[in-house]
Amino acid sequence: MNKQLFFGALAAAGMLAGFASAGTLDDVKARGELNCGVTTGLVGFAAPDANGQWTGFDVSFCRAVAAAVLGDPTKVKFVPTTGQTRFTALASGEVDLLARNTTWTFSRDVDLKFTFLGVNYYDGQGFLVHKDLGVTSAKELDGATICIQTGTTTELNLAEYFKVNNMSYKPVAIETNAEGEQQYSAGACDAYTTDASGLAATRAAFADPENHIILPEIISKEPLAPLVRHGDDQWADIGRWTLNALIAAEEFGITSANADELAKGTENPEINRILGTEGDLGAMFGLDPQWALRAIKAGGNYGEIFAANIGESTPIGLARGLNAQWTQGGLLYSPPFR
């Protein structure tokens, strides 16, 4: 009898402990490690290298958050997730943060009960075609065979686009990106469609990139955004403002190289507030004043992260386009740090 009581008390205590530590920030701090959901491998965005070190655009965001929260960009456990497991992994608490080039949509935000932290990459669906097909616009693809990944939003976008433009197409169903490239280069389809960033990487990896063109039409909006669970606004704020800090850092010219220098104090009060030399913004969500400084030093500001992983100096060679600062004609616009 006593034993039963003991077990009951133990279980209850466990449950209470579980509910008591509902704050993700406290959990992460107690664990000393950020669990970050990433893809199982996508060129430029997240992939382990030969030594097992994860690198990429999404990976850099995870590292920035870890630096802000834990003070060390290496304190991240990368959890590879598939298209099927990513949302459950986040909802069940297996990961604290999902940075897995996930498109921000109404139903994912509202129905699946996630909070998107802001767009870190503006993508869109495009077409890759053989140059000798003689096609220069997606509008000329009437009757073409198109390789398309099944079960994705790209499949729906494609159907909608062709329907709206009164054209027909023959779909060739493929399972993975690698299979799509294989089918396309083997000539099984005239065009391959997926996110434009993926197409650029695919084209760059071909033996003859000059024989393939990416058509100018972008037929969908794919704002890729990191996300967290609904219901923990403090944690969501930390993620959102880490992203904003990276974007604002580029706008104000704070780089990983000069951040320490600028942190000694500048004429610009906004830079001072970001780097924690003026005011104490970090304390408002439970972090120290230097949180943003560490996030920026982890992998550089947004522009540096972009250039290092997917920018024009990398083999993938993506132009900034929509992902330029608002002052440069892009869409990146961080709210003020005040």
């Binding site: 199982t40 992939a47 030969a50 590879p80 598939t82 992994a89 690698a178 071909f206 083999p315």
Partner: protein, 439 residues
């Protein structure tokens, strides 16, 4: 000379004719081909079609394999090397990806300075298996086999040495309970206690005790979390553990299904039919995702352990049915003979029924094992990096190896083939050995 026999007949052979070669069409390769390849219109037609298909495969694959590149650090470098050596437009296999990333195929993201632990565990696996697989090995090695699971656990995951010691202590306590209770309380209660004591020990006391001893005498090696496991290390960990535990569990389930006790029978039938009616992927999803909702938050229930449990249960249900087939194939007389000898249920199973039933079931059991081992690649769906797709996706995720398509399938495929072929050969060896002197 007249009157002699030789005159009256024109010729008499007085020596044997030397043996002649058979006609050209009845010997050697020609005969073999006539009998096996061109024995009728249909066979001739099939032979021609077969040869043509073979030619097409070789024509497509031959140059590609002949132009293999081993020393290259990226797919682009492979293409350049092939173009430089065999002219533009030539295609060649790019094994540079295997050369550069083989360690990830075998060890996943296990720290390279700790590879020796995996290698040692792998070698010891065969030492532990030897007395089970081959009769010629000294029986004393079985003691090592008994300790192998905890040894491997310690080697692979590391951490404090007291964890495996405490786990083994649980089994020892179970044995002590069995011995102490046996004389007083009867075999059944002693057996239940022998099962219950270790479980209670592991669930409640094991962790604090291990922690306590660790506090007094810290002893151990670097702990390596499950997230670092991948590739064939992961496949072997899941496959070997699943195989080892699903066979006994399958035997128990098969016996349970044949039991006269309604509760035992119902539970066994329900379990077997449920598991066999559900795809493995569903079980894996349950293990990786649903359990997280059920368990209290903060519970860290290792993902590999969860997957192993699911794979074991899945395989056990199939093995139970295979063994049930073996049991059904035994003539009724064998059961009656056991009864006539006055053997009780367990003795009869141990001495008469199971040895025969298992012998009949060997091909089916090994098929299940091969299936289980190959099914370990499905763990990619719960985010574990299996050698076939998980590691390959990760490798293709770096720009150097993007666009390498067939090689990362062929390499793990070959290794899987070797292992599965080995298992199948062993099963044939075992069948032949057991056939000797029987019926």
């Amino acid at each position: 000379m007249s009157g002699l026999h030789a005159d009256s007949t024109r010729f008499v052979r007085d020596t044997m004719l030397a043996e002649q070669e058979p006609p050209l069409t009845e010997r050697g390769a020609v005969k073999w081909a006539r009998e096996n390849l061109f024995s009728g219109p249909l066979n001739t037609f099939l032979t021609v079609v077969g040869v043509f298909a073979l030619y097409l495969i070789l024509k497509g694959l031959g140059p590609w394999l002949l132009h293999s590149v081993w020393f290259a650090n990226s797919a682009a470098e492979c293409r350049e090397t092939v173009a430089a050596d065999f002219g533009p437009g030539a295609t060649g296999a790019c094994w540079g990806v295997v050369r550069e990333r083989w360690a990830q195929y075998f060890y996943g993201f296990y720290p390279s300075e700790a590879y020796w632990r995996v290698n040692l565990a792998f070698v010891l696996l065969f030492v532990a298996l030897a007395p089970i697989l081959f009769a010629g090995v000294p029986r004393k090695v079985l003691w090592f086999t008994a300790f192998y699971p905890v040894t491997a656990l310690f080697l692979l995951w590391g951490g404090s040495i007291w964890v495996p010691v405490v786990i083994m202590a649980g089994i020892a306590f179970g044995w002590v309970a069995f011995r102490l209770l046996g004389p007083f309380a009867g075999a059944l209660i002693a057996a239940i206690a022998a099962g219950l004591v270790p479980v209670l020990w592991w669930l409640i006391l094991a962790a604090p005790v291990a922690h306590l001893i660790e506090g007094w005498i810290p002893l151990g090696i670097e702990a390596i979390p499950s997230a670092k496991f991948g590739g064939f290390l992961l496949s072997f960990t899941i496959g070997v553990t699943g195989i080892a535990f699903s066979l006994p569990l399958g035997i128990v389930l098969a016996l349970g299904r044949q039991s006269d006790m309604p509760l035992v029978k119902m539970l066994s039938v329900g379990f077997i039919e449920f598991i066999r009616g559900v795809p493995l992927i569903t079980l894996l999803f349950t293990a990786s995702l649903l359990l997280n909702y059920f368990l209290p938050p903060g519970t860290n229930f290792d993902i590999i352990l969860r997957v192993i449990i699911m794979v074991t249960l899945f395989s056990a249900a199939y093995i139970a049915e295979v063994i049930r087939g073996g049991l059904a194939a035994l003539p009724r007389g064998q059961y009656e003979a056991a009864d006539a000898l006055g053997l009780d249920y367990w003795k009869a199973q141990q001495l008469i029924i199971m040895p025969q039933a298992l012998k009949i079931s060997i091909p089916g059991i090994v098929s299940s094992f091969i299936g289980l081992f190959k099914d370990t690649t499905l763990v990619i769906f719960v985010g574990l990096l299996d050698p076939l797709k998980g590691i390959t996706d990760a490798i293709r995720g770096s720009f150097e190896w993007k666009g390498v398509y067939w090689e990362p399938f062929i390499f793990p495929g070959l290794i899987f083939f070797l292992i599965c072929f080995g298992m199948s050969r062993y099963s044939m060896y075992l069948e032949n050995k057991l056939k000797r002197g029987q019926r």
